[in-house]
Symmetry: C2
């Protein structure tokens, strides 16, 4: 059955006449790649459909601030329909894509409906990778979705709440031990924000525990944290984290997680740490659409399941199927694939939109060239590291750059002013307004209190 949306709508009739419906581009995924592609495509005289499982775009770089109670999910999320509301040639569908048929040029939804496309852009991103230890997923949750962040927030804040009531010093110590696995930007930002929470925000709010005694451990397999940054910035970040009280352990590989005990190998030594809160920031793997594309087109996947793309983001042999953002392995520039960061996805999305424009309008095809805008990570309340190639900035000045850029890119968001106000308020009062333990809170509390087995 073909999906016949817009059939009975009078609005749709207006669309039919006002845009060239000969070319229909379907974009799957409303992250940075998909949204930036859709926004560019919406300017063209073609029909555009954006499909996402969720009804909102998420500003993932700030998700750690939801996990640590500074921002609310809605502060960093924007309804896709609201962002694209004035694009009259664009339809937004909240749906799951179950399969594609590249020969018939169709996308098949989980609800069995089918949609025909002329061009297809797949931008479904990545999820957590536990490197074959999928049983760790519940024990050491990761941070990719709003639900992940709410779950982390519940665990982090819940640990302090349960510690407040715990008379046994050993058990209290385990409750006040937090292990972050993975020293990339997410792990570094999470550890820094947790240190700030324990040392400042929560400091005067408990009577039975001293929250500044909380131990925050950051474990990284490489010989330094932020391994994708220049060594001097890694060193600066480690120094800042240590000053905040975070214990940084590099060359450290986690070998087991069980019964709230993390076992890790640090050189030749095997060590254990008992921690009620263990957070995963160690690796990513491609979303399921990667395998679907491989099955249907024979395209090569890399070792984490990302799709190898041509120099124009298309799949070999399928010039009208593009993969962009974190799901794409783009190795046509420099000596390694482009990193899985927002600027890459945004530039790829805009590039593919321009490529489709050139085809629709019969113009010469553009060439993709990634402009490296640098990379940056924030550490705690007022430190950051910024890598702009020759210019490397650390400390409070880097933090100001980070703040400016993040608010600038939140320009998509209604909430820009509100986020700035929240930050200002949190910064000057050291309070955090979004510290709610919600969702399956009873379950997590009982597990931490030992009433229920984990």
């Amino acid at each position: 059955m073909m999906l016949t949306i817009q059939k009975e709508s009078t609005k749709a009739t207006i669309h039919e006449t006002s845009v060239d419906r000969k070319h229909h581009t379907i974009v799957v995924g409303g992250g940075f790649g998909g949204l930036y592609a859709a926004k560019e495509l919406a300017k063209l005289p073609i029909k555009v459909t954006l499909i996402d499982k969720r009804n909102f775009h998420l500003f993932q770089p700030l998700l750690y601030q939801v996990a640590t109670g500074t921002l609310s999910p809605a502060d960093i999320a924007s309804p896709l329909r609201a962002v694209l509301a004035n694009k009259k040639n664009t339809t937004v569908l909240m749906a799951e894509v179950a399969d594609i048929d590249p020969q018939a040029q169709k996308v098949i939804l989980a609800s069995k409906e089918e949609l025909s496309y002329d061009s297809l852009i797949v931008a479904t991103g990545v999820s957590h990778h536990y490197f074959g230890n999928e049983q760790w997923a519940d024990l050491a949750p990761g941070l990719k979705t709003v639900e992940d962040a709410i779950n982390m927030r519940r665990r982090i804040l819940g640990a302090f709440e349960v510690a407040e009531k715990e008379p046994d010093p050993e058990k209290r110590k385990a409750l006040l031990t937090f292990v972050v696995i993975g020293g990339g930007p997410t792990g570094v930002e999470l550890a820094g924000a947790m240190a700030d929470l324990a040392n400042h925000t929560l400091k005067d709010e408990f009577t039975g525990i001293d929250t500044t005694e909380a131990k925050i451990l950051l474990l990284e397999g490489f010989d330094r944290i932020l391994p994708s940054y220049p060594p001097e910035l890694s060193a600066a970040a480690e120094k800042s984290l240590t000053a905040l009280g975070v214990e940084v352990k590099t060359r450290t590989l986690v070998t087991n997680i069980e019964n709230h005990v993390v076992t890790y190998r640090c050189g030749d030594r095997v060590e254990h740490v008992e921690a009620k809160t263990i957070l995963w920031a160690a690796g990513v793997k491609a979303s399921a659409m990667g395998k679907t594309l491989a099955d249907r087109t024979g395209v090569t996947l890399d070792r984490v399941g990302r799709v190898t793309v041509e120099a124009d983001m298309a799949i070999a042999g399928y010039p009208n199927i593009f993969v962009i953002g974190d799901l794409a392995n783009y190795a046509h520039q420099g000596d390694k694939p482009l990193p899985g960061v927002a600027p890459v996805a945004m530039q790829q999305g805009e590039f593919v939109a321009r490529l489709i424009e050139s085809r629709v309008k019969g113009k010469p095809a553009p060439k993709f060239r990634y402009r490296d805008l640098g990379s940056l990570a924030v550490i705690g309340r007022n430190k950051a590291v910024v890598n702009w190639g020759f210019i490397r900035v650390t400390g409070i000045f880097a933090w100001l750059i980070w703040t400016f850029l993040h608010v600038l890119y939140l320009v998509e968001f209604d909430n820009q002013l509100i986020v700035l106000l929240q930050w200002g308020y949190n910064y000057f009062t050291r309070k955090s307004g979004a510290r709610l333990i919600t969702g399956q809170y009873l379950q997590v509390m009982e597990e931490m209190e030992g009433i229920k087995p984990s």
Copy 2:
């Protein structure tokens, strides 16, 4: 086992010497009653413990704005620890009270720990009442907690999303039909906000459906909505709702909810309406602590399980156990019990704190006298009704009063300015920033799409 928090803390030693620990008051519940009691008690030279299952106080009167995507949960919630952080004689415990022992003057937590009290204030409020049809709870969720609001938001927004993809006009109609059961303030405010959502906020965001065709039905058993208000205000509210497109049915009793069909009796007629979204705002019953108190003290409960209290809020025969707020049936003033609204709870909380002060300091006991500050309900975007006894206000002026008072009482909250900004933004742009479908979204979507049975 006695709970020995504070034993090893150096902070606790400071407390021991600086406050008179002879009198320990335990407050159970951090709603309006419990929080206002705790804040007053914190000024006295006694020890205070506030116990709540949640780590935050919730400004429940605005919960419907979370359910309809205007505000975030954190905008109307404040961590209890943050509110009481500078009260050094006050301990906050996130815990569930399982039982009380009035003879031994102990509170027993779910985790088996026991706490001794000299005075006990119970303020655990009420939950939904389905009048013996508890199977309706999942089909027609109510609105008391943050999770309830997120659940409602998911259903309301999800219905529009699924309708956008639905080719069958009959099924689409059921998806765009919303039934609110109960015409008290919550039902009225919810129906008004939903009408605003359908007629304005979502209007230009869909291409396959016309959201203004959504049917919103408000069912009330009495002969008028807002039955606790003067008839002229009920009439004004009904007129405003009708102008917004809400279909108001009074003298209407729901007799069944099954397979997304609501059956109701309206006079002699029995009617049915198919609706994928059914919301419950019809009744409340006492929380479980009511029965616990009855079992342990023999106190009388009313027909919805509320605790009958003496003129000083104490339980007959137990002058040191008080029940306040929605859980209390206080019938010592006027011809019926005081209503279950925030001002009653706040005044009772402050009164009991003053009563305990008089006992600790050996002063004459105060007498409770409820000051009726009036009642008010908002209808849609810029209308309200306000009842101040002789002065009755409707329309936009009432809405301004409502806005002013709600922001005034949010003074407890860090978020006051942010809520004002959100409102201002939403008011002038008719957007709503917090329209996220989160939590068990796949489950609800599949149920609405008919992929999974409900």
